[in-house]
Symmetry: C3
Amino acid sequence: MKIDSLLKIFVPKDDSFFPLFEDGAHVLIQSADLLKQLMLTETIDQRAPIIKKIKSMEHQGDEITHKIYQQLNKSFITPFDREDIQELASSLDDVVDYINGTAQRIGLYKLKVIHPDFILFAEIIYDAAKEIEFSLHGLRHSGKNHAKIIQSCINLNTLENRADDLYHDDISQLFENEKDTIELIKTKEIFATLEKSVDMAEDVSDVIKTILIKLA
Amino acid sequence: MKIDSLLKIFVPKDDSFFPLFEDGAHVLIQSADLLKQLMLTETIDQRAPIIKKIKSMEHQGDEITHKIYQQLNKSFITPFDREDIQELASSLDDVVDYINGTAQRIGLYKLKVIHPDFILFAEIIYDAAKEIEFSLHGLRHSGKNHAKIIQSCINLNTLENRADDLYHDDISQLFENEKDTIELIKTKEIFATLEKSVDMAEDVSDVIKTILIKLA
Amino acid sequence: MKIDSLLKIFVPKDDSFFPLFEDGAHVLIQSADLLKQLMLTETIDQRAPIIKKIKSMEHQGDEITHKIYQQLNKSFITPFDREDIQELASSLDDVVDYINGTAQRIGLYKLKVIHPDFILFAEIIYDAAKEIEFSLHGLRHSGKNHAKIIQSCINLNTLENRADDLYHDDISQLFENEKDTIELIKTKEIFATLEKSVDMAEDVSDVIKTILIKLA
């Protein structure tokens, strides 16, 4: 227990962080939704505008992260530990960064065909984003929502395991079947950023679990 | 010097962290030993059970890290600075993660032949794990063990330099001699995760050095 | 506002960090200058001594970072928040690490031809290093230099956007035109470390911005 924690008993908490995290969750959901749309396109021309929108989501995410840091600096007493707020903001931003990284690569590499498992990954990422949104909203009243948030973190862990298995199957098949090395390099890298996006989503839920433990 | 440090003079320290770090060191040693075994296998069939065991080691490592974080939250006074405990736990976990990452790739890429220098790397990683184990045990009585722990950190630095030279030679030769691009991609990536494992081990010793400086 | 911040009102600050950061900026400038020189060489023989010098710069950078951490531990009151000093030191070190990573790869991969855009990247990195040097010197008297440092951070952001666009064009063209897969792998990785160097430089300016906000 830190000195800061002792102070929290006597000074009212600053609740202005909750709307900022909810904004962050909203940007994440929109990015994940755009990624799903991107994976369902059939031509390069259809992709360009979606990739651009994802890029602009990433900028919005950056701005929200920046606002959270500024708010952190102005606040005397925060609803959770300062380092957890910082970690939560940066891990949330990381998910959006990886979604954008995936989208940018699809544009950059001028992929002719979207691998069918890219769609499965985009769906897992979207479902993970939904769990994160649920948990972040729940934190406002973490006492009564405790069990539900824990369940949501478990769901996210299940999604991450599914993504992990999918990634292993895909990479393994890719090395067996893809004879065009350039295509292999491109596809492998996109699978890696997709899988990393889900890892990053799990990192968010790890921070949320840490916060819940401390609030308990 | 932080306020926390002042408090430490008056309140008894919580020593429950030492057994947890020793558990972590034990998981690391076992993972490194399994990696050496993996590198000495001759067929894909021999590899599968070892790779699975390394994966389960990685899970055990995660659980220990989680316990350390929980303990950190419950403890009023810690034997070293809180951020150093957190850093030590996460850097220890990173070494096991990279060992697992190497093992997973060997399985995933269905490598036909284990490169002879993979064995050299696995030996360096095992030796580094032994130094980490020694240092972590030494921290219980850091006063009388100070010189020995410093020596162990120097040994780890020597191992890291050796790994660095080995990596450079291997990558350089790989680009010169490997004409099969797919094999080159696979082998290069495994060398990179092996070298990164040693880097991560050195990060652990950097945290230990920081702790020693503060305790001095 | 943390307890530490309250203390700062009554206890004189420790200004010994400024010369250390200025040393760090000097190492960065020298590394960036050597990288530019490296990109202008015409033969592998000319490259070896420059690559060696960059490696030794990286070691000097490590030593300065270590001195900053030691100083941090000895200081009761610091000119900025402790975590910002740590972050500033490590982000500064990261830029030099990526410059060295680029140089090492150029040596390791025995590149026959230096891609003309490598020179453009090295120039952006050098300009970014100059902005960092300017900002770090300005921090000594952050009150009167506030507007100039902010302008310098904006310049760095502009450089990062330019590097980003350049990277996208280069990777896109590389996949279209480079038919030798091995050359593609090598060149792509060097573009990636060059672009990452600029990202790391922007991270330094993000820490500086955080410090300015807190001092305002």
